[in-house]
């Protein structure tokens, strides 16, 4: 990111007071998914019966165009399983809202890849959480590595330039960073790595999967060395206290409700993609006067744009670097929001985690196996797809 002219206060301080429209808007189009990743942020699996219709999605896009939201990050669930997905992508780009979408690759056929390569306004992000099938499939499910690689091959063969390979960093793939970078180079893609959050089903596996303290340092060092060529969604700002201010590229702050937010498949607006919980629900686009009104006036968002208490972190010399870390990571591990991040690099998170704490119960779960533990089928389905979520 480049900057204009000199002026105080800093951009971070400006951003903490909020913007007229989000810079980075995530829109989960569906909770339906063909996979069941163990760390799914949105606990996806089954389609929600209240999912926004095509018309309702188009109305949101019209509003985003009026607000000059430059692009949306579309995810899910697996967004491409919505029958109107490509129609919505075309509608958005025709209305000056660029699209970056995340996919596990299930629908990225050679034909779709060619179609994507023809548009300047669509960016594709393939999710992959291991540099080989063994590490990846343990998290994302059997066959998911092969599916992602096939999608990357199809994109590359269609001459789609600069796809993103999106990796959630876990204890089992930090050692594979160089392999991921090589893989990105092989497909003419860019590597994007993000932080594992204890959100959604991630709460169940966070203890075993989040990188160890040594691995956080390893990750930080790797980022400082390779930061210019690697995207991070600015998600590792909790690590910035490991080095000199500014050593870590990107905007090192929590943007929840200030510069980022999430619209979920039923139109609920949350402060950030990692905070799908009623505590961070600002409103619903259908029942609360539209997205623009929620963004500008929701009490939750106005509260987040007020100066936040640093709490237990106030006396820490690194607060200016990490700014207390990730709100969602604290919330879902049962830590106070005014206090250290569970992965605080000064070790205060470990101490805080050792104390008595109540982790919040999830308030939305579309997982397949949990929601429908048992189901008796007395007659065979008319068509195989009637039994498939996609």
């Amino acid at each position: 990111m480049t900057a204009g002219t000199v002026q105080v206060p800093s951009l971070i301080e400006q951003f903490e007071r909020g913007l007229d429209a989000p810079i980075c808007l995530t829109w989960e189009l569906t909770y339906a998914c063909n996979l069941a990743c163990v760390h799914c942020l949105s606990s996806s699996g089954r389609r929600d019966p209240g999912e926004l219709t095509t018309r309702q999605c188009m109305d949101i896009i019209d509003e985003l165009e009026r607000m000059q939201v430059f692009y949306v990050n579309i995810g899910g669930g697996e967004p491409t399983v919505r029958p109107d997905f490509w129609e919505l992508v075309d509608y958005a780009t025709a209305h000056h809202v660029g699209v970056k979408f995340s996919t596990n690759g299930v629908r990225i056929t050679p034909e779709i890849a060619a179609r994507l390569a023809a548009s300047d306004y669509v960016d594709v992000q393939i999710s992959l959480d291991g540099a080989n099938a063994e590490v990846n499939d343990a998290v994302r499910g059997p066959g998911s590595f092969a599916m992602a690689i096939r999608a990357l091959e199809n994109l590359s063969a269609a001459d789609f330039r600069d796809a993103k390979i999106s990796v959630v960093m876990t204890r089992h793939n930090v050692d594979q960073l160089d392999e991921f970078a090589a893989m990105a180079a092989r497909y003419g893609a860019t590597l994007r790595i993000t932080r594992l959050r204890p959100s959604g089903r991630g709460a169940d596996v966070w203890d075993e999967l989040h990188p160890t303290a040594e691995q956080q340092v390893q990750l930080y060092d790797w980022l400082v060395d390779h930061g210019e060529r690697v995207l991070t969604g600015d998600s590792f700002f909790h690590l910035s206290a490991l080095g000199a201010p500014g050593a870590l590229a990107g905007l090192n702050m929590c943007g929840a409700g200030r510069v980022v937010c999430l619209i979920d498949p039923v139109g609920d607006v949350y402060a950030c993609p990692f905070a799908i919980h009623t505590r961070f629900r600002a409103g619903n686009v259908l029942s609360d006067g539209g997205f623009d009104n929620i963004w500008k006036n929701a009490p939750l968002f106005l509260e987040l744009r007020e100066p936040q208490s640093a709490g237990a972190c106030a006396s820490c010399g690194h607060f200016d670097g990490c700014r207390g870390g990730c709100m969602a990571a604290k919330f879902f591990t049962g830590l106070p929001l005014a206090g250290p991040d569970p992965e605080c690099v000064q070790g205060y998170g470990v101490t805080a985690l050792a104390r008595d704490r109540n982790t919040p119960r999830p308030t939305g779960d579309h997982s397949r196996s949990r929601a429908i533990p048992l189901r008796l089928i007395t007659t065979p389905p008319a068509r195989p797809c009637n039994e498939s979520p996609v």
């Binding site: 204009g4 007229d20 430059f70």
Partner: protein, 90 residues
């Protein structure tokens, strides 16, 4: 490759760049390079608005109310925008 920035030439925003005014200045987004930039004050936004209507970058600064002895940071910022292809010669 972006053209080296010459303040004596006439410049304009790249046609794929969108500008969103904000209380602190403005956000710029380039749909081609998918890069985001920030203008840190409203004067800089006025300079950009004036660019397309003036024969060169210096007169655009004047039109936006930037005096001769204050133009240096504005020209430098325009240079950064030209280097990232946000501005192109007219």
């Amino acid at each position: 490759m972006p053209e080296p920035f010459d303040p004596a030439r006439s410049w304009r925003l790249h046609p794929q760049v969108a500008v969103r005014p904000e209380p602190f200045g403005a956000l710029l987004y380039h749909f081609g390079t998918r890069k985001l930039s920030f203008l840190k004050n409203r004067t800089m936004l006025a300079v950009l608005d004036a660019l397309g209507k003036h024969a060169d970058a210096r007169s655009a600064c004047r039109a936006a109310g930037v005096a001769d002895d204050q133009e240096e940071p504005y020209l430098r910022a325009l240079g950064m925008l030209a280097a990232s292809n946000m501005l192109v010669p007219r």
